[in-house]
């Protein structure tokens, strides 16, 4: 074990992708994608369904097979043991134990991460469901259990795959506020969504389509370049120009 341990520092990009491609079965899910995710910021990964958002997040989390090109997290290969304690990953499917209660799920993941629960259940609005079996929760509530698990132990890098899908607008707004707070506290967040409107809540944007990176820019730059404040329309204009 003489290899250097990953260190969290603002001097290195949190994620760096150079010419990254991923093939999933017959499908080329990502095609020669290159970008850097700056540390300590809230980056939105936006694109329509099937554009490769989940594949990219899985690759960064270190669970996607057949990743070509050079993809690093803090300069290290994704999935390394030393990196995993920094990482909070929320997959698109809930990935929680249905036959345990909300609290039992959180306790288990807290134990294996060596983390405290703190006020996490309040933060994701699940206080009243604490002792309910996950099986009996609605889809949106399950997603929040999954989110709470990803937030355990204040990870430095949060990879959240469509965390706000199917939630009521009020709660969605509160979660985006929470994500902003976490970035303010120094965490790096990469959050995917197929709802273009959510671009407004992000500091940086990665726009994906058909496995290709259309653009990396800020929401203001997107508005300026496309001369529209309608995010859906802005995306369309970007595609037409490309």
């Amino acid at each position: 074990m003489s290899e250097p341990e990953p260190k969290w520092t603002v001097a290195v990009p949190a994620v760096s992708a150079r010419d990254v491609s991923v093939r999933r079965g017959e499908i080329q899910a990502l095609r020669h994608v290159s970008f850097e995710v700056p540390p300590g910021r809230l980056t939105g990964l936006l694109g329509p369904s099937g554009s490769g958002k989940s594949t990219l997040i899985r690759a960064i989390a270190g669970v996607q097979a057949a990743v070509e090109g050079r993809l690093t997290v803090l300069g290290f290969e994704p999935g390394r043991a030393g990196l995993r304690r920094w990482l909070g990953y929320m997959a698109q499917s809930s990935s929680v134990y249905e036959d345990l209660t909300v609290l039992e799920n959180l306790r288990y993941f807290a134990e294996i991460r060596g983390a405290q629960l703190g006020g996490l259940l309040e933060r994701v609005g699940l206080r009243e469901q604490t002792h309910q079996l996950v099986r009996r929760l609605s889809g949106g509530q399950r997603a929040r259990v999954s989110l709470a698990i990803a937030l355990l132990g204040s990870p430095r890098l949060l990879l959240l795959d469509e965390p706000t899908v199917g939630l009521d607008p009020l709660l969605r707004r509160e979660l985006w506020r929470l994500f902003g707070e976490l970035a303010g506290e120094g965490a790096t967040l990469l959050i995917s969504s197929h709802v273009m409107e959510e671009a407004r809540h992000c500091e940086d944007l990665l726009l994906l389509r058909d496995g290709r990176l259309l653009a990396q820019l800020t929401p203001d730059e997107l508005v300026a370049q496309t001369s529209t404040t309608d995010m859906d329309e802005a995306f369309v204009r970007l595609i037409e120009r490309a």
Binding site: G62, V63, A65, R84, S95, Y108
Partner: protein, 247 residues
């Protein structure tokens, strides 16, 4: 090291909690073997010798079936629901995850073996000559084997329907060949050779050694060691199917 132990025991507690929310499964795992041993005793009301011959091997077969089923379904669910993938992005190592499962299912198998053998050796009057604790030790070894085989089955199944079909596919041939129906020495040479390569043959041999008239503690320990070796082998193979990166 300390973290590793903590994470393994946390996993064992989580698996046991899942079982606690499913008392019917746990109840069936204990009641069904008790009913079957009782039935066997009634079938052989006038043939005590035959009950000793058939009742003892069954004590080694129950943990194999029970633990195979709970392991294969539990791990299949972990694979399908995405919890396995999530666990592999945390500091929990694969070997810690499997150690946690082994602790939980080992305890479950111990509870089953203690209760079922207490009934079978007590009220039902199965006669064992060897130390009766070895019945429990052998049952735990068989349970770990069941876990390894269940882990393997979970990797080759896409649904719970498929995974339960692996039970007859992997366990029934072993039951036919292990000496339960026909003594292994009296089988055709080729089949005898095959049965020598199957772990259940040693589990059943061990139980036969326990009930045989001559005391044969050494032989029993040898059988237990062989079953454990198979269990470790199947667990190592099974662990290789738990992959961090999937397509």
């Amino acid at each position: 090291m300390k973290g590793s132990v903590t994470r393994s025991f946390a996993t064992a507690r989580r698996v046991l909690r899942q079982l606690r929310h499913d008392p019917r499964t746990v109840g069936l795992m204990i009641i069904v073997p008790c009913v079957l041993e009782t039935l066997l005793r009634l079938i052989y009301t006038h043939r005590r010798q035959a009950f000793d011959q058939a009742g003892a091997p069954l004590l080694a077969i129950f943990p194999l079936m029970s633990v195979f089923l709970v392991t294969s379904i539990a791990l299949l669910r972990e694979r399908i629901s995405g919890t396995l993938e999530r666990l592999l992005t945390t500091p929990l190592g694969r070997h810690e995850l499997l150690a946690g499962y082994a602790i939980a299912f080992g305890l479950l198998a111990t509870a089953q073996a203690v209760i079922v053998s207490a009934l079978t050796l007590g009220p039902l009057g199965l006669r064992v000559r060897g130390p009766s604790e070895l019945v429990v030790v052998l049952a735990i070894a068989v349970a770990l084997l069941g876990m390894g085989l269940g882990l393997l089955a979970s990797a080759f199944a896409r649904s719970e329907f498929q995974v339960v079909q692996f039970l007859p596919a992997t366990v029934l041939p072993q039951l036919l060949l292990c000496g339960l129906l026909v003594a292994r020495q009296r089988m055709p040479a080729a089949l005898y050779g095959i049965s020598d390569a199957l772990p259940m043959s040693y589990a059943v041999d061990g139980m036969h050694h326990l009930t045989s008239k001559v005391s044969a503690d050494g032989a029993i320990l040898g059988d237990i060691a062989i079953v454990l070796a198979f269990a470790v082998g199947s667990l190592v193979l099974g662990a290789a199917t738990v992959k961090r990166r999937t397509s």
